[in-house]
Amino acid sequence: MRKIIRDGAIVVDDWLDLDATAPIPPQGKIIVPLARWLEEKPALLARVPRGVGVRLGPDHDPFALASDLPALALIAVEFPVFRDGRGYSIARILRQHLGFRGELRAVGDVLRDQVFYLRRVGFNAFAPRPGLDPEQVLAGLNDFSDAYQPAADDIVPIWRRRQPAPVA
């Protein structure tokens, strides 16, 4: 099975990614596209204890999931290309406006040089683009040890922490 990064460690992915039509297995954790979740909600809600996650595209409105969040153990946000920055805002909305506490996973064109920012906006899991060495991608999480501004992590802005101006 493929390896992903979760909470700063490389782990075997224990979730099954389903498309719009693939049969839903009775057991195991599954991720379904947003449309399928909305259409088959009653059936999917019944298997919530076994693990259901939803996959959002970059043009999906995260507020569509507002009332469903307690049922969802995972939300995956797609990055069709790493330059498409919409998923960063989606993550902050899910974490900071909607209070989502489950696994927030970046999927698609997920590369080493973006994971530090992705973590700051609230992703705690990363499925690197196939072919990339997860170790290398993991290293990207350490590019910086600090940040200027608040985001979906517990960094206090530097302007609140720093030394006062030297006396002229």
Binding site: R83, G85, Y88, H97, L111, F116, F144, D146, A147, A151
Partner: protein, 560 residues
């Protein structure tokens, strides 16, 4: 000015290490060109016509003498001994080697400088009023807010992959010298009816191929809520700005498509949420702490009593001419703001040699509390020179060809790098600027023409802000030939307007003659004391059109 502590320094050094590794991986083939491109752009590195171009950030145009000296040393060591100041108050090096860039960044970091977000689809260098803190018409000094916005925007995790570049300008004065209405966000410091300090917020202004004047979406935003409001604007834009067409991707297109009222409504809805985040609110302590970095330097309260310069103003006509044109009043009695003119003497507007940078750094230390400012008109400013010292400063500037007494005149042109350096150019800018300068060398005529802004861009990306020139010149390509489209009546400021197109483009060698005809028309039509811009506004462009296109300047235009 703002001074780093260990937090800032750590971040900047980690950024250098990160870019060093990214460059190494690119050169080793581990990163594709497509993957490396946005990374290098976010660090100000372009691949240009001849060589890479590195754009170094000068936050809101403010530099220390030590920093300017470092720029001089970098330009000498890694480039050809000069740099180019831009309309966005940054410095460009046109000839660095890609392999050297990590080293250049390390040298910059040693003086609290960097190239972060000087390009790329992210929040760019914040620009401001070059007279901040010294102008009498100021409501409040914009620089503490510029610095807070800079910090909020620097390495922003959410807004580093926006649909397109994003520019913010802040002004704190009655006269807008920061062109806030042609920025993605323009912030104007103002007080509400109760005397509370806050901002009027404009969005969706911009130049480029679809120039637009910004829309006022919030007449008053309390200073405390500045960052939550900016975050709301950026989030709406990040989620909804177009990503399918690079020419439709700026926020101005989104504001236009939704309509300013609907755009404002969506921003307000998001703002209702972002303002709940206490970490983003700027309490008065945080603002006061930042204001201390921009406190006035220790002026001599008796400075106004020393009047030595009055003697020189009477004795030395050249000095008096320079003083009248190249210095500005200061709110502190006995002080003046002194422009360092990066114009004239056959140089490209904004170009400065390493020797000149070092000379100005020396002057700043001796006479100006060690501070230098970059203006968006591609000059420098020594903002706090004692009046009695102006003659000595002038002599020194003169020695280094930095005292062309032309600030604010036709010769104080803005020009982008154009065909000489820029891969996107249709036509030259620098040679056209030189052609015009040579044609109007007579100072008396220049002074008689009065205040005049002439701006030149080498293509419709408008880096030379041609739309805002009283006379704007845009390079276009006509069947492989360099042609120039002229506009009249453009202006920045709170009554900003885009220039109106004069008529068909003219070939390169006719540009100066065309400008001459425009100016002759002005001189003939003006009322006593009326400026060029006022005359254009009063009479419209028809008379100018008539004089320019009445008879061909040369053979080829008759057939063009």
């Amino acid at each position: 000015m703002y001074v780093y502590d260990r937090h800032d320094q750590t971040l900047i050094e980690e950024r250098v290490a990160q870019f060093r590794d990214q460059t190494r991986r690119f050169l080793a083939g581990e990163l594709s060109e497509e993957e490396f491109r946005p990374l290098r752009l976010m660090n100000g590195l372009y691949i240009q016509r001849h060589a890479p171009m590195l754009r170094i950030a000068i936050p809101y145009g403010l530099l220390s003498a030590q920093q300017l000296r470092k720029l001089a040393a970098i330009a000498r060591r890694y480039d050809k001994g000069y740099g180019h100041f831009t309309t966005r108050q940054n410095l460009q090096l046109n000839w660095p080697r890609l392999e050297d860039v990590p080293e250049i960044l390390a040298e910059l970091a040693s003086v609290q400088m960097h190239a972060i977000q000087t390009s790329g689809n992210c929040i760019r260098n914040i620009t401001s009023d070059h007279l901040a803190g010294i102008a009498a018409d100021e409501v409040a000094d914009p620089r503490p807010f510029c610095e807070l916005i800079r910090q909020w925007a620097t390495l922003h995790p959410e807004f580093s992959y926006l649909p397109r570049k994003f520019k913010i300008a802040v002004s704190g004065a009655a006269h807008d010298r920061a062109a806030i209405k042609v920025h993605d966000i323009g912030l104007l410091l103002r007080k509400d009816a109760d005397g509370a300090l806050g901002f009027a917020v404009y969005v969706g202004g911009g130049l480029g191929r679809t120039p637009m004047i910004g829309e006022l979406i919030r007449p008053f935003l309390h200073r405390r809520e500045l960052l939550p409001y900016l975050e709301a604007i950026l989030r709406v834009y990040n989620l909804q700005g177009r990503r399918d067409n690079i020419h439709r991707a700026r926020i101005k297109i989104l504001v236009k498509a939704l309509g300013p009222a609907e755009f404002a409504r969506q921003v307000e809805a998001e703002f209702e949420r972002t303002r709940q985040n206490p970490d983003l609110l700027l309490d008065d302590d945080a603002i006061a702490a930042m204001q201390r970095f921009f406190a006035p330097p220790p002026y001599d309260p008796t400075a106004a009593e020393e009047r030595d310069h009055l003697h020189w103003l009477q004795q030395d006509a050249a000095f008096a001419r320079w003083y009248a044109r190249n210095t500005v009043p200061h709110k502190q009695p006995g002080y003046r703001g002194v422009f360092v003119a990066l114009k004239g003497f056959g140089r490209a507007p904004g170009d400065m040699s390493s020797e000149q940078m070092e000379a100005v750094a020396d002057l700043a230390e001796r006479y100006n509390f060690g501070e230098i400012r970059v203006t968006h008109t591609q000059n420098l400013l020594l903002a706090h020179v004692r009046e009695r010292d102006t003659h000595a400063v002038w002599q020194e500037l003169n020695r280094h060809q930095l005292a062309a007494p032309v600030i604010g005149t036709l010769s104080d042109m803005i020009a982008c790098p154009g065909l000489d350096f820029c891969a996107l150019a249709n036509a030259g800018s620098i040679d056209v600027a030189e052609q015009i300068r040579q044609r109007f060398e007579d100072l008396d005529y220049l002074y008689d023409l009065g205040d005049l802004r002439l701006n030149i861009s080498g293509c419709m990306n408008a880096c030379g802000h041609h739309h805002l020139g009283h006379i704007g010149i845009l390079g276009v390509d006509k069947r492989g030939e360099e042609y120039y489209q002229l506009t009249l009546g453009g202006r920045g400021g709170l009554d900003a307007a885009l220039g109106e197109r004069l008529g068909p483009a003219v070939p390169k060698h006719e540009v100066a003659e065309t400008v001459a005809r425009i100016l002759e028309t002005y001189v003939a039509l003006r009322q006593p004391g009326e400026s060029f811009l006022d005359t254009v506004q009063r009479v419209g462009i028809a008379p100018f059109k008539a004089s320019v296109y009445a008879e061909p300047v040369s053979e080829e235009r008759a057939h063009a």
